[in-house]
Amino acid sequence: MSSIRASADRTLLEVDRLSVEFVTRRGALRAIDEVSFDIRRGEILGMVGESGAGKSLIGSSLIGLMPPGAGIASGTIRFDGREIQGLGGEAMRKVRGRRIGTIFQDPLTSLNPLFTVGRQISETIAVQLEVSHAEADRRAVEWLARVGLPDPGRRFDSYPHEFSGGMRQRVVVALALCAEPDLVIADEPTTALDVSVQAQIIELLRELARERNTALLLITHDMGVIAEITDRVAVLYVGRIVEIGRMADILQRPSHPYTVGLMHSIPRLGAQAARLRQMEGAMPRLSAAPWRHCAFSPRCPATIERCRASPPPLVPAGKTEAACFRAGEVGAAATAGGTREGEAQPAATAAPARSPHLVVDDLTCHFDVSPALIDRMFERGGRSVVRAVDGVSFHIRRGQTFALVGESGCGKSTIARLVTGLLAPTGGQAALDGVSIAPYAGDPTQRAALREVQMVFQDPYSSLDPRWTVGKIIAEPMRARGMDDADGRITKRVVELLEQVGLSAADGRRFPHAFSGGQRQRISIARALAGTPKLLVCDEPTSALDVSVQAQILNLMKDLQRDHHLTMLFISHDLAVVNFVADVVGVMYLGRLCEIAAPTTLFERPLHPYSRMLRDAVPDLSVIGHKRRAVQGDVPSPLAPPPGCRFHTRCPLASERCRAEVPVMHEYAGAWAACHALEEGRIDIPAQRLVGDLPKPMPEAGELPAAPRPASRGWRERVLQAR
């Protein structure tokens, strides 16, 4: 026990049986239930859990900034030897900032837009450290430099909107640390950031914390971040800590069945798996307090009678402490190594047809975001065009899953919208089985072809009309095709579809708000299938979901693809997810494709420097304390993309030629990449192929007939017909 608990003398924060409740008209809801943990000076404690587990609430209750309606029901919070729970306004204010700093998730909304960043830091320093304004200004510049802002003296006078997301998060870090607190609560500090920037912020936090022996409470849902910098980890499930222990033990030798399941649900780079091992169901919503049984028991494969009778206490089990009656037995059975069911051979999937199903040829989409003419006349700014997609070519063979990966703003979602006809391209074309679907001129063949394309959207909360019943939503594609329900065909089919995606017929009569995010995504999938598509476009279908639910949805999609022989275009920012679902992966950067390869090839042996960078930025769960190679710099604005190779501004191998000439795709050992360094042999190309040949994944020049010109330009989107 003592090996896990912090030794008393160096303990900074001690939380003892803390309970937080929301008062509602139907009674109190217990959101945090008797949570106990402690943090030593200079220690990094990770707190993980799915959304709704209460991890953010713990963070805000420590500094007395809980959302309205929430209050501490019982328990104590001892900080540096003094009880701080329920401290009044002024006393608590003195703790905040000066003793406990906080970092919030979204750098875009955390900074006051109307004050310069320098003033915000300087103001905090002046108030907290009671120094003169001149001194505060001086220290603020120092802090800007410390968090890695170039030219801090000049950036002092910049407003937040003049910074990129990553830079803003650096400013937020400076603000949280500038009053030199002993503890920093970081609430999902990297969630809103791109994977390459995440590594930079994590590194920054680690360094600054170590420098001043600052303790860190890192709240996150991301096991990768946990694996990277934490010392100990607490796992939360509906308001209770279900397991707590040293990070390596939690990750590799978890004892609680929930932690075990959670670790299994995470798709990983490395070997390809046929299916993810999934936990059934979803985390329950809050209930009237306190729990009379183990909250995890309904989903638990090891539930026994006792689990339903009382909630288990946190007891030592194996190398950690777990709140489970069977912790010892479960933990022994599962080690992180043997998590996968049947490591399938990648080649085992049915051989795809030779003929391409979807052909995308030199597709371009530019958005004119120029200010009005009159503004351009009087201000420096000229026309500005966002080159969201700039000459992308690829094709997908029937029955294949083609995935596009890249950071935000790389144009991957725009491609999804172009291929589905929701957006008109400004150049190039896309064709389905030889029929052009973009640009769309509205003739009957095109209409018919586009009907074969359906889409699953990212946000489960906005993709279903909240005023329609689920049954009506799923029936809409059928009705849109003029199917009538005279013989109850539609009703029958709706029930069929509901069952296919794991819901019941009764669910058809309910409204979307009655469902969780994962269930809504199932409904969304059922609606897409109701249109009997040949091509299913999925735009980040699981990025809004928790990992355990993500595993269910990914498995479901894989099953459905096999059963319906669907062709899929899968858009994602998550390399591990892509590795799991895709047959072929295209890597995008600033509107262009830089590499196309089979996932095994791509992630084991990336060719393009950008692919390599993306791969290296993914935290590795199997290596404890793995340090990601942080990539320098931010993604440049798509308004002014660099000439030549788009990646040259961040590429360690950039040459004069890269700065001037746009590279073209060539084959290198079974993968395709567009890179001058590869072409010139400045990067070693392994002779051996990891998998079989990848047939040329893009159309030959002139393979498609000239695209039909649309009769009239859609007034829906402001699209510039440029080039």
Partner: protein, 328 residues
């Protein structure tokens, strides 16, 4: 910034031109000025002469152009009813309306913002509840009825304040002011409250809801988490962000104060433009109606223009729009 200004200016000019067209159409198609000016008994010859003198025999476009040109030179025509130049009548009445509007505008803005902020910062305090009650009553009271109630209480029953007129005025150049005499100031109190109350409640409600919205934002939560004292959080960080949308709406409200002064001036027999206008409406005295409309719309548009510029000054994000567009 220049671009924004020019576009706004162009839009303002368009608005004024449209109002001018409406005013002109009033002249053209509503009633017959010749008939109005000469009365029933004029001979056809007299009518034709006057028609020529007024330029009514020329093409409509020319007449419109001349209407604009005349207006620009301050020639607003003759009042049908009083036979005097409208410009003179308005010049006499303008100071009364401007002073009333400014005082009540100030009253509305100062108290509106103050009460709105107070109600947002401590939403459950008794004072905040009182303010919300005032605002509810304020929005539900027809403006003329406020005047009547005030007159009954303070003029008829208590006899403290005058119930009509401007009191003694002092002439400074062409401007007659009531701000320099005690009776003038006393006469200003009831009409200003009457006129300002409705705007006050609107501004207060707006400030409150905006402020509540801002207080819920992440950057305020973050400011609190940094341990900044409540006054700095509320009055520096939150209030400045609240101001941005408020400026525009306040501009609109100030503009409508001038329009609403018609009612107040009627209740208090205040010798301003509004009273002149409503009397003119009763007699279909088109030149006065048209000039009033045009003048009020210009004032209104001017205030809005000023607010727009202020808005861009307060919010740095609006200055470099391209950056904003890129960081979307």
């Amino acid at each position: 910034m220049v671009g924004v200004f020019l576009r706004r200016l162009a839009q303002s000019i368009l608005v004024v031109l449209i109002v001018a067209l409406i005013a002109f159409c009033l002249f053209q198609f509503v009633g017959d000025p010749v008939h109005n000016m000469l009365g029933q008994d004029a001979t056809p010859q007299q009518q034709a002469e006057l028609r020529q003198r007024l330029g009514l025999d020329q093409p409509t476009i020319v007449q419109f152009a001349r209407f604009i040109a005349n207006f620009a030179q301050g020639d607003l025509g003759l009042s049908y009813r009083m036979g005097r130049p409208v410009s003179q009548l308005i010049a006499e009445r303008l100071p009364a309306t401007i002073e009333l509007s400014l005082v009540s505008g100030l009253f509305a803005v100062v108290f509106g913002i103050w009460m709105g902020v107070a109600a947002a910062v401590a939403p459950d305090s008794p004072l905040s509840r009182l303010y919300m009650t005032i605002s509810l009553v304020g929005t539900s009271l027809p403006p003329f009825f406020v005047g009547i109630l005030l007159i009954i209480v303070f003029a008829v029953t208590l006899g403290w304040l005058p119930s009509f007129g401007r009191g003694e005025v002092v002439q400074i150049g062409f401007w007659s002011t009531g701000l320099l005499t005690l009776s003038g100031l006393k006469a200003l109190i009831l009409p200003s409250i009457t006129l300002g109350l409705f705007q006050l409640t609107l501004i207060m409600r707006l400030v409150r809801s905006q402020m509540l919205e801002v207080l819920r934002s992440d950057y305020i939560k973050f400011a609190r988490a940094r341990g900044l004292p409540e006054p700095i959080v509320n009055y520096r960080h939150a209030l400045k962000n609240t101001l941005v949308p408020i400026i525009t709406i306040t501009g609109l409200q100030l503009g409508s104060i001038i329009a609403f002064s018609i009612i107040t001036e009627t209740v208090f027999q205040w010798p301003g433009m509004g009273l002149l206008f409503i009397q003119a409406v009763g007699f279909a005295d088109i030149p006065i109606i048209a000039s009033y409309l045009l003048l009020v719309s210009m004032l209104f548009v001017g205030i809005n223009l000023a607010c727009d510029l202020l808005y861009h000054y307060v919010d740095p994000r609006l200055l470099d729009r391209t950056v904003a567009a890129a960081s979307r």
